[in-house]
């Protein structure tokens, strides 16, 4: 039963049917949540006692930084699934997530440096977290250009999965860079094990913004993966009915 379900979901056709059904719900839900979070965070949350109003860029910066690493994790899982079980859908997912990961990392970098001007007095510092995020951005670009340089997509899928898995060694370092080195960037305020060090009046909108932003990015991933599937499976007969 479980195996059948797994095989069914691994087929691009079932995926497209399911995703077509889910897409509007996810999109409007996360749009509402993110709007609520932004209104709450920008208008109603109190100003920070040290940073004033500039901390409010947090509601873009934190979700984007969180996703920049999580998307790589998703890609690594998909790469393992593709290499072990040869699930084609996983390879399409890697290809479609890579540009979005680059975009999200870019948003995190830009919003971080905008935030840095009023709080640190500098927009760029060669500090562990910033540098490692920049390297993550370059890794995404490397993945895209590696896949783009091959005309044989079956080979390119294998190469990109190998590179994603090898490059995964950098992710724990990026994640832990603020704890292992004493740097300008603050350590993580929200962890699974400790009580968050943010006041609830700022924390709740942050949680909402993380959920909403992730939902919007998931929508982007869905759209991009559909493009990928239709590109690669364009000659199959079922594609006609779902475009």
């Amino acid at each position: 039963m479980l195996k059948k379900l797994y095989h069914q979901f691994a087929s691009p056709k079932t995926y497209v049917v399911l995703v077509n059904k889910m897409y509007p719900y996810i999109f409007y839900f996360s749009l509402c949540i993110y709007t609520i979070a932004l209104v709450w965070g920008l208008a109603y949350a109190p100003a920070d006692y040290m940073q004033g109003n500039s901390f409010r860029i947090m509601y873009l910066h934190v979700p984007a930084s969180f996703l920049s690493q999580s998307l790589y994790l998703v890609m690594a899982i998909a790469a393992a699934v593709f290499l072990v079980w040869k699930v084609k859908l996983a390879a399409y997912m890697i290809k479609s997530i890579a540009p979005i990961g680059a975009l999200v990392t870019f948003i995190a970098l830009v919003s971080g440096s905008i935030w840095g001007i009023p709080t640190w007095g500098t927009w760029w510092q060669w500090d562990a977290r910033i540098t490692s995020t920049l390297i993550l951005f370059i890794m995404y670009l490397g993945l895209i250009s590696l896949h783009g340089s091959f005309t044989n997509f079956e080979k390119a899928d294998k190469f990109i999965s190998v590179l994603v898995l090898v490059g995964f060694v950098n992710i724990p370092i990026i994640k832990k860079s603020v704890d292992w080195w004493s740097t300008l960037h603050q350590p993580a305020s929200i962890t699974l094990t400790n009580k968050p060090s943010i006041d609830p009046s700022m924390l709740y909108p942050l949680f909402f913004s993380m959920i909403g932003f992730s939902g919007l990015i998931i929508c982007l991933v869905i759209l991009s993966s559909k493009v990928q599937i239709f590109n690669r499976e364009g000659n199959k007969s079922w594609v006609k009915d779902h475009v």
Binding site: S132, I135, L136, I138, M139, L141, G142, L143, S145, L146, S149, F150, K155, K158, F159, V162, L163, V166, G167, V169, N170, I173
Partner: protein, 216 residues
């Protein structure tokens, strides 16, 4: 195994530009560095090591760029992949020979330079082991990057390999930092050796998988 070793050694030794060239490039980078800062300045001592790491990285990048290309074009790789499991050992030996003919000479040169630059014998114990280990790691990882971008040019190989070297460069920086403060560096060297041992086993395996995919 030993025949394979002799064959690969012969192949690299015959191409003078492939192994002597990178060593000279390393020499030129290390020589040209003191020219760009004031020779008398004391700062040179502090930043010299980072130049050493970057110079060895660039040298390895230049030397490894065509590591599999010639064998790919003349069909040697195809022969090895058809023969049962010798592709793995062939890759392993190829990387080892690159380290033997390029990695060890540039480590010795770099050690010589660092001793003469800092004027202290203690830098011998910092530079030599860390350069020997790090060049081996660099060669392994650049070989991986260049096997991915086998016939697509070396820029792509460099682009996808450089981010993977990032943890090793941090470790090298930590070693110099600890040495400057007079702390123990053997624990960091052992950590790097452990990384190397993992890499020696896994990278040739991954590379042989990639090469098989290329030949499909």
């Amino acid at each position: 195994m030993f025949d394979l070793f002799k064959l690969e050694l012969f192949k690299l030794r015959k191409k003078l530009r492939a192994w002597l060239g990178p060593i000279l490039v390393f020499l030129l980078i290390t020589i040209s560095f003191p020219l760009t800062v004031e020779l008398a300045s004391d700062d040179l001592k502090n930043v010299f090591y980072s130049i050493l790491w970057i110079a060895s990285l660039l040298t390895v990048m230049v030397s490894v760029e065509g590591i599999f290309l010639e064998d790919y074009e003349d069909g040697t790789l195809e022969n090895f992949s058809v023969a049962n499991d010798s592709l793995f050992s062939m890759v392993l030996i190829k990387i080892f020979i690159y380290w033997l003919l390029i990695g060890i000479p540039i480590s010795l040169l770099g050690t010589f330079f660092s001793v003469s630059m800092t004027g202290e014998m203690s830098s011998f114990y910092i530079a030599l082991p860390s350069m020997l280990i790090s060049t081996y790691i660099f060669i392994n990882l650049f070989a991986l990057g260049n096997s991915l971008s086998l016939n697509k040019g070396s820029v792509l190989g460099a682009l996808i390999t450089m981010p993977l070297l990032f943890p090793i460069l941090i470790l090298l920086g930590k070693i110099v930092l600890n040495a400057n403060f007079g702390f123990e560096i053997s624990n960091l060297l052992l950590l790097m050796l452990g990384v190397l041992l993992l890499i020696i086993v896994f990278i040739p395996f991954i590379i042989s998988f990639i090469i098989r995919t290329h030949l499909e």
